[in-house]
Symmetry: C2
Subunit: 228 residues, 2 copies
C-alpha cells in the first residue's frame, strides 16, 4: 500500500483513509526507529495532509499505538494454523511466517522489543503482552492442550521469548541462515518440552504424541522446518 | 536502607544523600508500579524534602532511570562467580541470586520487563539491553568461551530471555516452587546447548566439557540447582 505516488485528495471512506494512514506509518516505522518518523513523514508517505493525520490520530503516540495494534493483528492473522500438517509442521510453518513478518517490519520489531522509544502509559507494553498471550494460546491449541500445568506454561513462554530474541539477534547479526535458525528454534521447542517433561509427566506424554505424529506423517509432507 | 524512620535533615555527603534517595526510590518501585510512585512518596520514604529530590534528579523520569541503573549494577555485582564450583554449579548459584533479586524488586522487575510505564528516549531500553549484554558476557566467561559462534550466541541469548520470562511468570503465578523452577532453567540451558551443538560441533565440545566437570566434582559439592 505504501511507497507509491497517490493523488493527494483521493476520496476514501473514513475507515479506508484511516487504514491507509496506518499502513503508511507502519511502513515507515518498519524502516526507521519511530523516534525518527514525523507526522509530516507519515502524511507525505500517505499522500495526505498533516492536518488529516492529526484529525484521525490526535498525535504521533496515538498513531504509533494504533499502528502497533494493527501490526499485532496482522501478525496473529498470519500465524494461524493452515490445518494441513502435523502440529510440529504447523508450528514450523508459523515460525517461517513469523520471521517473514520480522523481516518486513525490521526496524519496528527491533525498536519495540529492545525497549524502544518514548512509550506512553504502558499501552505499548500491553500490546506486546497481549500478543505473547495470544501466541501462547495459539501454540497450546495447536498442541491440543486445554490448560497447561506450570512446567508446560513456563516452557512455552520461554520458547516464545526465545523466538523473539532469535528474531532480534537475526536482525542485528544475520550471520546464520534463516532456515537453519528456524530449525534450531523448532529443536529448542522440543528440547524445552523435554526438560518440562522431567517436571510433569503429562508434558512427556504430549511430547511423545508430537513426535509420534511427526514420525507417522506421509513422506511427501516432510519439510525442512520440522526436524532438528 | 529504606523503610526506617530517619531525621529529616541529617547531614550527609552529596553522594551518600543521592544514594539514599535512590535506595528509597528503588524500594518503592519494587513494591508498586512506577506510575503510582510520586516524588513526594520518595521524599517521604527517604525523610527528605521534595525540593531535595528535584535538586538531585530533576524529575521522576531521571530518578527512575538512575534507580534502574543502580539496580542493574547491584544485580550484576550479585551474579559474579564465587569461584568455588564447576561452571554449571556457579551458574545455578547465580540463578538463585537472580531470583532473590527478582523477589526483592518484584514490582519494578515486572513493570520493567512487561514493557512498563512511561519510558523516555529509549534510556530504559538501553539499561535493559546492556544488562542482557553483560549477562551474556558473564555466562560466556563462566563457560570459558571467548567469542561465541552464532549458534551458541543464539542459545545463550535465548536462555537469558527464558530466565527473564520465567522470573515474570513466577511473580505472576507462583504455582511452582522456586528451587524446581531454577532446576528447570538449568536443565533448559543444557538442553539449548544440546540443540546448538547440532548446528555447531564446538558447542558440543563445550557441553561435553560442562557435563564432564559436573560428573567429576567431589560429591560433597553437589547442590540441587545443578542437575535436572
Amino acid at each position: 500500500m505504501a511507497g507509491g505516488v497517490r493523488p493527494a485528495r483521493r476520496r476514501l471512506s473514513v475507515d479506508r483513509r484511516r487504514e491507509e494512514l496506518m499502513a503508511a506509518a507502519l511502513e515507515l516505522f518498519g524502516r526507521r526507529d519511530a523516534e525518527h518518523v514525523s507526522i509530516d513523514d507519515v502524511a507525505s508517505e500517505a499522500g495526505a495532509s498533516r492536518a488529516l493525520v492529526y484529525h484521525y490520530f490526535g498525535g504521533k503516540q496515538e498513531l504509533y499505538v494504533a499502528a502497533l495494534r494493527s501490526a499485532a493483528a496482522q501478525l496473529e492473522a498470519r500465524l494461524g494454523p493452515r490445518g494441513t500438517g502435523t502440529p510440529l509442521d504447523e508450528l514450523a510453518g508459523g515460525l517461517t511466517r513469523y520471521f517473514d513478518f520480522v523481516e518486513e517490519h525490521a526496524a519496528g520489531f527491533a525498536a519495540l522489543l529492545r525497549g524502544g522509544p518514548a512509550h506512553r502509559g504502558g499501552e505499548v507494553g500491553q500490546v506486546v503482552d497481549s500478543v505473547r498471550h495470544r501466541l501462547l494460546r495459539m501454540i497450546m491449541k495447536q498442541m491440543r492442550v486445554e490448560e497447561p500445568g506450570p512446567a508446560l506454561r513456563v516452557a512455552l513462554r520461554s520458547w516464545i521469548a526465545s523466538v523473539e530474541t532469535a528474531g532480534l539477534d537475526w536482525l542485528e547479526r544475520r550471520d546464520i541462515e534463516r532456515p537453519a535458525l528456524e530449525r534450531m528454534l523448532i529443536g529448542q521447542l522440543t528440547a524445552l518440552l523435554g526438560v518440562a517433561a522431567g517436571h510433569d509427566a503429562r508434558v512427556g506424554e504430549l511430547l511423545d504424541g508430537l513426535i509420534r505424529d511427526q514420525a507417522s506423517r506421509p513422506a511427501d509432507q516432510e519439510r525442512p522446518g520440522a526436524d532438528g
